[in-house]
């Protein structure tokens, strides 16, 4: 029995298998619950993957290696975000100045509030150094955090939690506030909750997704450029 289990665990596509199965489970639960915002497929998928990996005592490294095929597709999928972006290029061009200003002010605001709360609650310095990238997409966040001297994997967790919670609460919260414009909603999703927020925004409408993709890429690029400069000046 243990022998068969180790054959399964060492199967080269083991990671792909459990990740796709976990995500599919997440999608089914999400659909069956009439898209209940708490049941985001990625959150259920992640919880299912983590519990499977822990239960079978698979080291994280070997899970990561055998699921690399999926991780590698993150690159082309990110590049593909240029397509919804292009489809709404006209509206984006009309709003270019407000977009740039909002990314700068909104981005600084969300990082500032988070750092203030951490500082008030007396958190470790490495936690604080891993926080400023919480709203930007994982690959950029990990590179910038490394530059800052934080812990890249910790920043990846902050990014994921921010994205997952943002995807859960973002749209309902803005609906309740009476925000009706899909562009404004999408922009806020991308600025605060990166790729996960964008995935949720794409569910609303193509326009919502396009603005989210735009906000995500602009916030990511501006953070990657500005945070190391600001940090060098402050520290």
């Amino acid at each position: 029995m243990t022998e068969y289990l180790s054959i399964v665990i060492n199967f080269p596509l083991f990671g792909v298998l459990i990740t796709v199965a976990a995500f599919y489970l997440g999608q089914r639960l999400y659909a069956r619950s009439n898209r209940h915002p708490v049941l985001q497929p990625v959150v259920i998928g992640m919880a299912a993957v983590i519990s499977t990996v822990l239960m079978l005592r698979v080291p994280y490294e070997s899970y990561y290696e055998s699921s690399y095929l999926l991780h590698a597709m993150l690159g082309p999928a990110t590049v593909a975000l240029a397509i919804p972006l292009f489809q709404h290029a006209r509206r984006i061009r009309d709003l270019l100045l407000p977009i740039i200003c909002t990314v700068l002010v909104g981005g600084a605001f969300t990082v500032g509030v988070a750092l203030l709360i951490l500082w008030m609650l007396d958190a470790n310095l490495s936690t604080m150094l891993s926080m400023p990238t919480k709203s930007i997409t994982t690959p950029i966040a990990m590179i910038v955090t490394e530059q800052l001297g934080g812990i890249p994997a910790l920043s990846a967790m902050f990014v994921l939690l921010t994205g997952a919670v943002g995807a859960m609460i973002g749209i309902p919260l803005m609906n309740r506030m009476g925000i009706k414009d899909d562009g404004v909603k999408g922009f806020t999703m991308g600025l605060t909750s990166h790729a996960l927020g964008t995935a949720r925004a794409l569910e609303e409408s193509a326009e919502c997704g396009a603005f989210s993709a735009l906000a995500m890429s602009m916030t990511g690029v501006m953070t990657a450029v500005l945070i190391p400069i600001i940090a060098a000046w402050l520290l």
Partner: protein, 116 residues
């Protein structure tokens, strides 16, 4: 569709060449995204093959994020130690930002509309 996938990978590679060549700390796919966007602006329309592959890949974006994200299982101790502060900072800043950012955006839209 296959051609669309080739497009995406080639633009990512192009981004990678620029990132490595100029030694800039921005991920290759983000540079590839910008390059593909510029290419589409020049071309004026999205080729059908690209549209096809985007319709397949974009809904799967969260799936592709799971392998890296599951890495949090390696950082149990620090998460427990700073757990309360982390939860408060993440939830607090996120909620406040979702409430405030739409108004910042609407404010700037009105500000620049008035000027033009």
């Amino acid at each position: 569709m296959l051609v669309g996938l080739l497009y995406l990978i080639l633009f990512q590679l192009l981004g990678h060449l620029i990132v490595v060549g100029l030694a800039i700390p921005i991920p290759s796919p983000v540079v590839g995204l910008v390059l593909l966007f510029v290419y589409l602006l020049i071309k004026g329309h999205v080729p059908a093959s690209l549209l096809g592959v985007a319709n397949v890949l974009l809904p799967l974006l969260p799936l592709f994020l799971i392998p890296a994200s599951a890495g949090i299982i390696q950082y149990g101790d620090l998460i427990i130690e700073d757990g309360v502060a982390i939860a408060a900072a993440l939830l607090g800043s996120l909620t406040i930002s979702i409430l405030v950012v739409p108004h910042i955006f609407l404010f700037f839209i009105r500000l620049f509309q008035r000027q033009s």
